[in-house]
Amino acid sequence: DTAVSQTPKYLVTQMGNDKSIKCEQNLGHDTMYWYKQDSKKFLKIMFSYNNKELIINETVPNRFSPKSPDKAHLNLHINSLELGDSAVYFCASSLVGVGSPLHFGNGTRLTVT
């Protein structure tokens, strides 16, 4: 009965590869997010979708492409992986409304070698 689930939990890959991280929420939320946590634990928003529509797109390289097939899913595809992409990526969801708390997945630790 996991609320926000991400797969895989760990991802190790080589530079130049393309990889995807999947996210699903069963909370009935309309808004989903991707956050990146770097090696210093700093969390930064990357993207936000509301009911499959992109509403926040931070200054992220266009090698990162989110895809939302429906409002319960938000996947992150990364092309041509670089060493600097190594981080923990968190998916989150919330109800519509600025003050609605975010519910986070357990994160995906991506290591690019």
């Binding site: 926040i56 931070e58 600025v98 003050g99 708390p101 357990n106 994160g107």
Partner: protein
């Protein structure tokens, strides 16, 4: 610009004691919300407490309470009767109605010692 600052990278407290984690923020908005999230070693991000800026009353959740000083743009978290399970990294965060982005501070690592 919306910013959140946590000036204490690390803190420690003895079990059963009280500890306060500091947070200051900056925003030009009137309508915003503040949060504290906890990230234990398991990596899970867990909501601790939420404060609405238009409410003067400080939010409380069991052993967790905040001291919200709107004029000073300060939002500290007080943990009473600290427990070993409170050992985690704590993040202060804010979101304004203008941007809709939840912005996090740098985090404070809290160690509860037996």
């Amino acid at each position: 610009a919306q910013t959140v600052t946590q000036s204490q990278p690390e803190m420690s407290v003895q079990e059963a004691e009280t500890v306060t984690l500091s947070c200051t923020y900056d925003t030009s908005e009137n309508n915003y919300y503040l949060f504290w999230y906890k990230q234990p070693p398991s990596r899970q991000m867990i909501l601790v407490i939420r404060q609405e800026a238009y409410k003067q009353q400080n939010a409380t959740e069991n052993r967790f309470s905040v001291n919200f000083q709107k004029a000073a743009k300060s939002f500290s978290l007080k943990i009473s009767d600290s427990q070993l399970g409170d050992t985690a990294m704590y993040f202060c965060a804010s979101v304004s109605s203008n941007t809709g982005k939840l912005i996090f501070g740098q985090g404070t690592t809290l160690q509860v010692k037996p």
